[in-house]
Symmetry: C2
Subunit: 123 residues, 2 copies
């Protein structure tokens, strides 16, 4: 399939797909005229990229974790593992932050409800 179809299937814009390739997250074969060709595996790969990007990872981290431009090497795998552990730690602490924020928000919501109840009584 060409880029338009991959875009439609994944929800990623054509612009983004080209960007992912430029950043080494995605490879494509090219037709004789230079157009990008993809297969079903690429749909899954883009989904993974989207999952990671949505989690706030940078394209550089993703490229290091899930190389696609070169053969896997022991050295690269070790580096990838280090990056993955780092990102995992970051993810977990971000999740904690978000849960803390949600707790604070719940508290505020409660306060706000009380204020509105009092206002209703008074008014």
């Amino acid at each position: 399939m060409r880029i338009g179809e991959l875009s439609a299937r994944t929800g990623a814009s054509r612009r983004s797909l080209r960007y992912y390739e430029q950043q080494g997250l995605l490879v494509s074969t090219r037709s004789p005229s230079g157009q990008r060709c993809y297969n079903d595996d690429h749909v899954e790969r883009v989904a993974l990229i989207q999952t990671f990007l949505a989690a706030g990872m940078s394209t550089m981290s993703i490229a290091q974790m899930v190389p696609c431009m070169s053969e896997p090497t022991t050295a690269k795998a070790l580096h990838a593992l280090a990056v993955m552990n780092h990102e995992r730690t970051r993810l977990t602490s971000t999740i904690d932050s978000l849960m803390a924020a949600r707790g604070a928000l719940d508290h505020l919501i409660e306060i706000n409800r009380s204020f509105l109840a009092n206002a209703a009584d008074a008014g």
Copy 2:
């Protein structure tokens, strides 16, 4: 206290503190010469702001949720409540995304470990 001390106590830069004020997240009284004066309550307030910013909320949302520039009104409280519920939904779905990403990451880590184990056997 002046801005330097508030910065030291909260970890927010002076630049950020002035920005929060400009965005309506923080108020300060001014000394005759124009310097900002804060009290202990401001330390807590900045902590709350940091919690929300770290959760990816915008200063505008925070300003709507926790107004400090004007008297609370029923209308404003209703608006604040709407924003809070919206942010809460967003937070929850972001947390879900992060946990999904962490799951995907764990899967990759496992694959990577297997690869390294095989490489060690072969090498």
